[in-house]
């Protein structure tokens, strides 16, 4: 899949074009050849075979997470309504 995983930049060495990144407590040096002009400490990057491929957009990641929260909230609401409706039907059935 072109295995590639998010990591956090903790140190940058512009001279060597490398950065140290942290993946859940595991640190490794990676090449920043493709992002060296933009990358900052604290950025999230995708790591592929010892190189950072890009800088992950925090804004877009948060927007996606927000969308999923909204979907869940909406579905919760629908489910609750469905449960209430079904409850009503049951009562109706009992009295008929």
């Amino acid at each position: 899949m072109c295995l590639s995983i998010p990591s956090k930049v903790v140190k940058i060495d512009k001279e060597k074009a490398t950065a140290v990144v942290d993946t859940m407590g595991v640190q490794r040096e990676v090449g920043i050849d493709f992002i060296e002009n933009e990358v900052k400490i604290g950025d999230y990057v995708l790591i592929h075979i010892g190189f950072a491929m890009n800088i992950i957009s925090e804004e877009e990641a948060l927007a996606s997470i927000e969308t999923y929260k909204e979907i869940l909230a909406l579905m919760d609401k629908e489910e609750r309504q469905k449960a209430i409706l079904e409850g009503d039907r049951c009562d109706g059935g009992g009295s008929a």
Binding site: M1, S4, P6, S7, G31, Y44, M53, A61, L62, S64
Partner: protein, 381 residues
Amino acid sequence: MNLTLKNLYDDFRDPKTIRALAELIHQESEGLERPVNIMEVCGGHTHTIMKYGLKQLLPEKIRFIHGPGCPVCIMPKERIDHAYILARQPDVILVTLGDMIKVPGSRGSLQQARSEGADVRFVYSPLDALKIARENPGKSVIFFAIGFETTTPMTAALIRRAEDLGVKNLLYHINHVTVPEVMRELIDSRDEHIDSYNNRIDAFIGPSHVSVIAGAKIYREFPERYGRPVVVSGFEPVDVMEGVLMLVRQFTQGRRELEIQYKRSVTMEGNLAAQRQIDEVFEKRGLFKWRGLGNIPHSALKLLEAYAHLDAEKVYAEILPVEEIEDHKLCICGDILRGMAEPTECQVFGTACTPSKPLGSCMVSSEGACAAYYKYGDLLK
């Protein structure tokens, strides 16, 4: 809210979100007039779909066709033989990525070459090849480069870094392949076969890490010229489910578009610095043979003429065979990749062909469709 690394993992594997998206896909699919065949081009998506059992969550109307996007699986035997022969040269150290270890050519795998005494090193990063070359100045170190657009810039960076350091004993055998050409081939070649709703590729889930580098723009032709929607989607289960939902919505709303689901990492333009570095060292090949699919024009890269002296294919041209080798007769990988057959329909699946002794390309890496079916099973609820 501040983004944490945990968000980037857990929120895109969240069980509730996966279930909710499945529910939305079910609702949306009611509006589909006929089944939709979605090709997930990339082996990473195949892996996600099988590992997380996503197929089991989808309505029958949504079918997956498992595509050719696994750089190891599609490597033809001829190229593996090159690696095998190069590795067995005296004073050669063959360096490649771990995925290549068990891929069988006609003479054997690199693992076998190593057990027969060849100096084969499996590394995590191409930069390790540079280290090995500097530590072994008396040897020729050949980096056997594999991978799609995602991996190509790393080889370019290796070449540039070696040049800057004046390392002369590092050569390259380039097997980098590109995605759009094979997608085009899969649509075009369909006409030669019996066309039916069962094997028509209706839409694509676009490989995402390829697009981190090359940009989503490389898939524009599919909606525009072929009327096939493409959604570039991430590899986490939530990403894949959302990608499927976006595709289904395109069908129910009568749209044929290129969309990006994986917006946190993919832009339309991609990583321009990486693209520039690729162009500085590579150019397109006229023809490249894909295992199971045959020759596909312009579907791979080679080193520019200026780097001919570092091109192992040229430097060792005399000892590298050029004749074609046929795929195994019973193997139906080509049909599987074209969406005309399921892995389980193959006569040799799980018997003569297993992940530890693969006959065909789809069984080679855990990303191949057959290997994923073999490993994870296709369990329905």
